[in-house]
């Protein structure tokens, strides 16, 4: 056994606080160390060549690099030692920068600590054995969860690259929140006009399988080889037979809330959410249906000309395999009513959300594109917009910006003037954030062309006076209280993660933040990856975003998925558990703790049944190593002996 130790100075990053020469000298006295030196920049090309040359010259078979964190440069040095003819797992990195030189000032203290850490690294690499990476085949199919604009974009990109995609959408139609918008900023494009062709394209794409009214209920496996359970909920309508004629909806006697229209107007128990729905198929909501509540009705079944209604339909369970998963579950509006009692907490019918207003603006919406007061159906003259309701609001536990409120208020103000030329819009704002391309211009238009009056300040209270509402706020620019009597109040309500986002994240084993937005692997350099390999993020499920950003992220996620799916196989980590079969007592306590079902029973020739690790499933957590009563399971790279020898060395 011949170990070489290389102590990096990292310019002065390390050398300023750690005496690297002294560390190298101390390393020379360590067991099996045949060469030790201090290098100015070990990760640089000359630095790496110096390591390789020393490895040849001193016939090294193990290398310790004391430098930055292994999270930084382990792969760099693994490649270097391979060039020196050394197995990459015979390299040990010792972190004397992030966890030593950068956090200590006393040179002696830092040097002593660095020597301890190098000694531990030497002890550890002594216990290391050459390992070889395995290979597992990649399933060449992608799963996209969520059929909003991000999911649609990602699915189309992957499908256009020639790879099969399954898109799972919880609702009976795809389209997501974008389908509910009337126009989109900054261009004031008609939302449906740009979205629905994409929806239709997706429906008819030869590489895409669309599963609506479906949810992901369980995910097993790992990058390249996920096994996903999908539950397709019974909608009591045969998708193949339904022609989308909507006669059932017309005749249905059971009223139901209209979720697509954000509660403006009413829907029926059997319905199609909107005229351009994809697939254009009715769905029945049992909880509102007389047939299911009272046990008699059957109107829809009677009137359906296609015989598509089937009350006996049951949930279907599918299990499918995928190589990559893109999560695009989007957002919903923050549940403002409980948080803002001063705004009436939902009691005043003429205080509505921006999404409800959006539905009113839409020609295909419940009011046919007419802006009316929900209380009496009259056209409003004065309309007050409130920005940042449930955004940038520490007091209600929502400190972050919704990213789109400023812009859609400006857009809605412009549209209001178009719909009601005699109307007056007032906007209470905190700051106007109009940073995107063409955004500032929209804001200017709202003020100059649409004549919206911007008042900088928060609103403290809204209360009714006669059939009007009084909005009491502050104008911080003139430093005074303002009171506006108005006909309608529109709240720019902030973003919240989609319902059940946290639960889905746990099924997928991806990280999420305190607001249940999914967490990217790195905020700058890995913005679409999650911490779980093979699972990518697109759109507002990762955080509030507008449509251009969602689409861009979706295409980025698709590119990552395509890169993964175009590979035939993947390398696996060899740092997995192994069982000493001679001494295994066959108790299978290991199998009980294994999170990946990676431990199998196997009968040996001598009649004993022992535990066997399925290496392609084992992820190397080491739970079994701890749970094994006779201690015959070892996690390669982190064996008991290796860890103990490290402990011994740092305490010496």
């Amino acid at each position: 056994m011949r170990i070489g130790v290389f102590v990096c100075q990292c310019g002065t990053n390390i050398a300023a606080t750690v005496d690297t020469e002294a560390v190298a000298e101390a390393a020379m006295s360590m067991r099996d160390v045949y060469h030790a030196e201090s290098i100015q920049y070990s990760c640089s090309d000359p630095g790496q060549r110096q390591v390789i040359a020393a490895a040849h010259q001193h016939r090294l078979d193990r290398v310790v690099i004391a430098a930055c964190s292994p999270r930084m440069h382990e792969t760099t040095f693994q490649r270097a030692v391979i060039q020196a003819g050394i197995n990459p797992f015979m390299l040990e990195m010792v972190n004397i920068r992030e966890q030593c030189s950068w956090i200590h000032e006393d040179r002696e203290v830092a040097t002593t600590k660095a020597i301890d850490l190098v000694a531990a690294g030497v002890a550890r690499v002594r216990g290391q054995v050459p390992l070889k990476r395995g290979r597992v085949p990649v399933v060449g199919e992608a799963l996209v969860v969520g059929g909003g604009i991000a999911g649609i974009q990602a699915a189309l990109d992957i499908a256009d690259a020639g790879m099969p995609v399954t898109l799972v959408e919880r609702e009976p139609t795809i389209g997501g929140n974008m389908a509910r918008l009337d126009k989109t900023f900054p261009t004031l494009d008609c939302s449906s006009c740009i979205l629905t062709p994409r929806m239709v394209e997706l429906k008819h794409h030869e590489n895409i399988r669309l599963m609506v009214s479906s949810e992901v209920t369980a995910v097993r496996g790992y990058i390249g080889n996920f096994e996903v359970d999908i539950r397709k909920k019974a909608t009591c309508v045969d998708e193949e037979k339904c022609t989308g004629c909507r006669i059932c909806e017309e005749k249905c006697p059971s009223r139901a809330p209209d979720e697509f229209n954000a509660g403006v107007g009413e829907s029926k128990a059997i319905s199609i959410a909107f005229p351009q729905a994809v697939p254009l198929v009715a769905a029945l909501r049992k909880e509102h249906c007389r047939q299911f509540i009272k046990g008699k009705c059957g109107v829809c079944k009677k009137v359906c000309p296609a015989d598509a209604v089937d009350y006996e339909q049951e949930d279907e369970l599918h299990t499918e395999k995928f190589g990559a998963i893109i999560v695009a579950t989007g957002y919903r509006l923050f549940d403002w009513e409980g948080a803002y009692p001063d705004y009436g907490g939902g009691l005043y019918p003429d205080v509505i959300t921006s999404l409800q207003y959006e539905r009113m603006l839409s020609a295909s919406g419940p009011t046919g594109g007419h802006i009316v007061r929900p209380s009496d159906g009259r056209e409003p003259r004065d309309i007050v917009f409130l920005s940042c309701v449930g955004s940038r609001a520490e007091s209600v536990g929502r400190p972050f910006c919704c990213n789109v409120g400023c812009m859609y208020i400006a857009k809605q103000a412009i549209q209001t003037r178009e719909h009601l030329p005699d109307s007056r819009c007032y906007v209470f704002y905190m700051d106007v954030r109009a940073c995107g391309k063409g955004y500032e211009e929209v804001y200017r238009r709202a003020q100059v062309e649409a004549g919206a009056v911007y008042l900088r300040g928060r609103v403290g209270k809204i209360y009714p006076r006669g059939d009007k509402l009084v909005v009491m706020g502050t104008d911080t620019l003139i430093g005074d209280q303002v009171e506006i009597e108005t006909d309608l109040v529109v709240l720019a309500v902030g973003f919240a993660a989609a319902e059940g986002a946290g639960e889905l994240a746990r099924r997928l084993n991806i990280a999420y933040d305190g607001y249940q937005f999914f967490t990217e692997s790195h905020p700058k350099l890995r913005p679409v990856e999650t911490t779980t390999g093979g699972i990518f993020l697109a759109g507002a499920c990762q955080g509030p975003k507008d449509i251009p950003a969602s689409v861009a992220q979706a295409s980025a996620a698709a590119a990552k998925a395509i890169r993964l799916l175009s590979r035939e196989d993947l390398e696996t980590s060899p740092m997995v558990a192994e069982v000493n079969h001679m001494r295994c007592i066959g108790c299978f306590k290991c199998a009980e703790v294994c999170p990946y079902n990676a431990i199998e029973k196997q009968k040996l020739h001598d009649g004993r049944t022992v535990a066997v690790i399925i290496e392609s499933l084992c992820q190397g957590c080491g739970l079994c190593n701890v749970a094994c009563p006779p201690q015959v399971i070892s996690l390669r790279g982190y064996t008991d002996n290796q860890l103990i020898s490290e402990v011994v060395e740092v305490l010496r």
Partner: protein
């Protein structure tokens, strides 16, 4: 192999003063270890008594390993993993929590003050929190001084001749 191995052990006792405490920290590679890196990147000064040993998961930390560290001369042992719900391996930290909580409660029966052992959760983004954890743990152990725990086996077993098992 021609080289039978360099004869002498990994060097002599390195630590100078006898009253200096020594702490060992087992850190999950996916979260706390990265959190400790982040504390370094942010140049957050920390007490220097702690030596970090990287593990793949807090669930890899055997309570016996903690006892072994005490036996080998550690005056305090710290384990840090991913926050409950955020385990890289789904549930490793739940196993860690159960095992380590039991260990903590048993320590007084071994003559080890429970303050000498601490387990906690620090994510990859919580560099500031990591620096606080190190400072607080060091401050908690310092007044207790040296442990001198010999445990069941003589500490001299430290020869680690069996480096590669």
């Amino acid at each position: 192999m021609a080289d039978a191995g360099k004869g002498h052990a990994c060097g002599v006792r390195r630590r100078g003063r006898d009253d200096e405490i020594k702490l060992v920290g087992f850190l999950c590679n996916w979260c706390s270890y990265a959190g400790a890196d982040m504390a370094g990147t942010s140049r957050l000064a920390q007490p220097a008594a702690l030596r970090i040993v990287r593990v793949p998961c807090s669930g890899r930390v055997d309570p016996l390993l903690v006892m072994k560290a005490f036996q080998e001369g550690a005056d305090g042992v710290l384990v840090s993993g991913c926050h409950p719900g955020d385990c890289h391996y789904n549930e490793g930290n739940y196993y860690a929590r159960r095992r380590l909580e039991l260990l903590k409660r048993m320590l007084p029966y071994y003559g080890v003050e429970p303050e000498r052992f601490h387990y906690t959760w620090v994510s990859a983004s919580e560099g500031g929190r990591w620096a606080e954890v190190v400072a607080e743990f060091t401050a908690a152990v310092e007044p207790l001084g040296k442990l001198h725990y010999a445990g069941g086996a003589p500490a001299a077993a430290a020869g680690e001749e069996d480096g590669d098992g």
